[in-house]
């Protein structure tokens, strides 16, 4: 019985106080042969290939911040593209976040999203050179 309760509790995956938000700027390109993705992007490379159609990824920059209700955080994974993240609410399995994506001083996108743990948010950003900049946000 105890084990059942333990398993049910584990399956619910409640958010913890020590949750962090990870952000990354990724350059996606098509290369022959395809480039092996860096370790930090191994889990994302198949989705990027499926969604955006690029077979190679480069990690331009990444940044991680702790999350707490009502807090306002700046995530600056690169000089040109960065995020302002406000935690609007902490729910049982989600964080309700207001996310501003800036390109230098220009606000490109403002969004409210419910982010679950290990369920990334992909943002198709501007193009850079021959590739596509993709921004990633994930609760960890």
């Amino acid at each position: 019985m105890r084990w059942c309760l333990f398993l049910l509790a584990a399956m619910a995956l409640p958010l913890q106080a020590a949750d962090q938000i990870w952000s990354a700027v990724v350059l996606a390109t098509n290369e022959t042969p395809p480039r092996t993705p860096p370790r930090a992007l191994e889990a994302f490379a198949p989705s990027i290939r499926t969604i955006f159609g690029y077979n190679s990824v480069y990690l331009v920059g990444q940044k991680k911040r702790a999350l707490s209700a009502g807090a306002d955080e700046w995530l600056i994974p690169s000089e040109k593209l960065f995020f302002q993240v406000t935690t609007l609410a902490q729910e049982r399995s989600h964080y309700l976040l207001r996310i501003g994506l800036f390109r230098e001083k220009e606000l490109l996108l403002c969004t409210e999203a419910r982010l679950a743990r290990d369920a990334p948010l992909y943002i198709r950003g501007p193009q850079w050179g021959a590739g596509q900049l993709i921004l990633l946000l994930e609760i960890r």
Partner: protein, 156 residues
């Protein structure tokens, strides 16, 4: 012909008598007469072998037969036995549960997926659309018209 048959049957059964019998027998040919003799032999054999078997206590037997006839048949049990009723109830409950589960609208992405509540872009030439990652729990915000950064510019 029909008259001959009826007379022949009466003759076989021994009902023809007197002058009628003699006249009918005179009209029969040899073959018919032999067939009639064969029939008489068969009937005699049947009478001998199909005689009633003597019953040792006929009154007792009759009483038993009458008693069996007069005894009313046992009434059929009404309804289902309790055990079957319990099993039938359990089966109905299980079926109802399965049907309910199969018809319930399913939240395919559920609580474990990232979803976009709203997205807007201040620049009029930039637009945003959102869709779930196929087969995953993530979500994509697709910015259209986000511009181009020349390759020689530093992004990092």
């Amino acid at each position: 012909m029909k008259n001959f048959e009826s007379q022949y049957n009466r003759w076989l059964d021994g009902h023809l008598r007197g002058a009628g019998r003699e006249a009918f027998e005179a009209s029969l040919d040899d073959e018919t007469r032999r067939a009639a003799d064969g029939w008489h032999e068969v009937r005699a054999a049947l009478k001998e072998s199909a005689a009633a078997i003597p019953v040792p206590h006929p009154d007792f037997l009759n009483a038993q037969v009458l008693r069996a006839i007069e005894t009313p048949a046992p009434a059929r049990r009404q309804g289902l036995p309790l055990g079957r009723l319990v099993w039938a109830g359990a089966l109905c409950l299980a079926t109802a549960g399965l049907l309910t589960l199969s018809f319930l609208p399913r939240e395919t992405r559920g609580d474990t997926a990232t979803t976009v509540v709203s997205a807007w872009t201040p620049a009029p030439d930039v637009s945003a659309g959102a869709f779930p990652v196929p087969g995953g729990r993530g979500t994509v915000i697709w910015l259209e018209g986000a511009g181009y950064i020349p390759g020689e510019e530093k992004v990092r």
